[in-house]
Amino acid sequence: MAESTLTAEGSRRAQVPVGSRGRARGLSDRAVLLLFITPTLVLLLAINIFPLIWNIVLSFTNYRANQPGREIKWIGLRNYERLLGSEDIWGYLQVTAHFVCWSIFFQVLIGFSLAWLLNRQFRGHAFWTTVIVLPMMLSPAVVGTFWTYLFQPQSGIFNYIVNFFIDAGDFSMIGDVALAPWTIVIVDTWMWTPFVMLICLAGLRSIPEYIYEAAEVDGASPWRQFWTITVPMVLPFLMLAVLFRAIENFKMFDMVVELTSGGPGSTTELASINLKREAFESWKTGYSAAFATILFVTVFGAANIYVKFLNQVKKR
């Protein structure tokens, strides 16, 4: 049976109070506990939390990492003012929103449909599931690279196939201002539809058969069964899949950098790509730190609200 938990639950059942069983022989349970979790927490503090705090501190300065000798000045909220007042930033966020929303839309649509079909358990369904899953396990950067080859306007197989079906003439998926934002959606959908599919499949399999049997006895039509049983029961799973995809795509960097590197113009310049430019090409460290802080707070806040909402849906 599938079980979906986002917060740590289920382990509360039988917890041994520390010390009660730590007998005279060997290390006490408290010592074992400290020995076992300290290294993990220390490493996470050093590599994740310390940089994050440092990042926030830097965001109030005019520091530039390529000029270590320069005097560092506190400039208060000036970086944040400049960021929020800049029209470019809203442009990058719009590009990001377009990418996140449309890629998730297609992945949910296709992923759910595939899961629904796979749940029919036809012969060989396990084999085909494994085949379908392959793209999502690959390196996003390498995926971005080889899709640029498939999208080559002169020789790419993508253009050839499109022209085989409809007479589209010469076009460039990567070089065209109108097409490029959809190009990154297409590749992301190709890569991550299996992710949504797998999670939906788990949702579909978690529905006990007797519910359908009862509905059948009551004379509910398949259409009605689909909307009153299948969809609501799969919804928590689907929402979980959307959460994962939204966080990942909001952070998206590697695949799109290799595919379009933000171009043409800045039509595919996602927030992370712009952040990398400001931080590692313009070396505006303080400014980019402020941008990074805003992005992180956005993801973290949105994810927290969403999880609360998800837990409510699950309870119903």
């Binding site: 917890q15 520390v18 940089p51 079909l117 390196s139 020789s155 952070k251 590697d254």
Partner: protein, 317 residues
């Protein structure tokens, strides 16, 4: 959506609905495999056939892409070529047919080796630390347990670029820039959230009565962990290790920003394999194929644990 025949319930789909479902799914699977198949094929093309239009499905296979991937070459004059002694190996001959000579092995070896060292090193550490932490979180009453676990998970929400700047500064100060050790530590930290959450799920499934019985028989807590719990966890540990390995293997952003040569892994290197007049597509395709191969094999091995891995243990089957 629900076009099942009336004679059957959804519980038991009828033969027609099954057949339709299988056809649609197989068509999707085949279409989604076209890009991968095309890349594997391109690895066996010559640079000219790789950019031919219309694309050539049937072609004479050559290992030129693989030879170009693994060697550095220079172009020479016909006179120079004529003076050379006869080629010693098949790849010498292949390169000379293009008026070039091999000057040495390419940097791909080093990058692939770095991927292996950093991948396996960080996987070992992440699984080692993760197993200990997962056991502690599963078995002991830890103050603020839920908050700590959520904190561990939330480290995965940071955009890598957002922490890259301070990590870059930190590594520069500590002399860890472009070092294997620095990358291993970094990937370990990134993978720990996955490893702790996944492994905790696996420990939770082992009845604690086993260890308690062992401890009544005189084992210490550590002995019980080592001799009773660990063997039971082995399948879970293996699955977690493969997930960590695939992540470290595929990672790009940190590798791009924090390494330049010495410790650079394959993903930032593959896209910049240059031939004459632009990217050497067969060599890029060959590199991509060799790079993807282990992941494909591991995915097949992992298939039963996939769902658990990609959701950090939130969905189990």
């Amino acid at each position: 959506m629900s076009g099942t025949s009336d004679a059957h319930s959804i519980v038991e789909p009828g033969p027609t609905s099954r057949r339709v479902a299988s056809v649609v799914v197989i068509v999707y699977a085949l279409v989604s495999m076209v890009p991968l198949a095309w890349i594997v094929m391109t690895g066996f093309k010559s640079p000219d056939t790789a950019i031919a239009y219309p694309p050539e499905v049937v072609f004479e296979p050559t290992l030129e892409g693989y030879v170009n991937l693994f060697t550095d070459r220079t172009r020479q004059t016909p006179e120079y070529m004529a003076d050379l002694p006869p080629p010693e190996t098949w790849y010498d001959e292949l390169v000379r047919s293009r008026n070039m000579v091999i000057t040495g092995p390419s940097r791909f070896f080093g990058r692939y080796k770095n991927s292996l060292i950093i991948g396996f090193g960080s996987t070992f550490l992440a699984v080692f630390l993760g197993t200990l932490a997962a056991y502690a979180f599963s078995r002991f009453r830890v103050p603020l347990k839920d908050d700590l676990l959520f904190f561990i998970l939330s480290t995965r929400m940071f955009p890598p670029i957002a922490v890259a700047v301070p990590i870059y500064l930190m590594y520069r100060a500590l002399g860890l820039s472009d070092s294997h050790f620095g990358m291993i530590i970094l990937y370990t930290a990134v993978n720990l959230s996955l490893s702790v959450w996944l492994l905790k799920g696996f420990v939770d499934e082992i009845p604690r009565e086993y260890e308690e019985a062992a401890m009544i028989d005189g084992y210490t807590r550590l002995q019980a962990f080592w001799k009773v719990v660990l063997p039971q966890m082995s399948a879970g540990i293996a699955a977690t290790a493969i997930f960590c390995l695939i992540f470290a293997w595929n990672e790009y952003a940190f590798a791009l920003l924090l390494t330049s040569g010495n410790a650079q892994t394959a993903p930032p290197f593959i896209p910049i394999i240059i031939g004459e007049g632009g990217l050497d597509w067969p060599a890029v395709a060959a590199g991509t194929t060799l790079f993807m191969l282990p992941v494909v094999i591991f995915t097949v091995i992992l298939r039963r644990h996939l769902l658990r891995g990609i959701t950090f243990g939130a969905v189990r089957r």
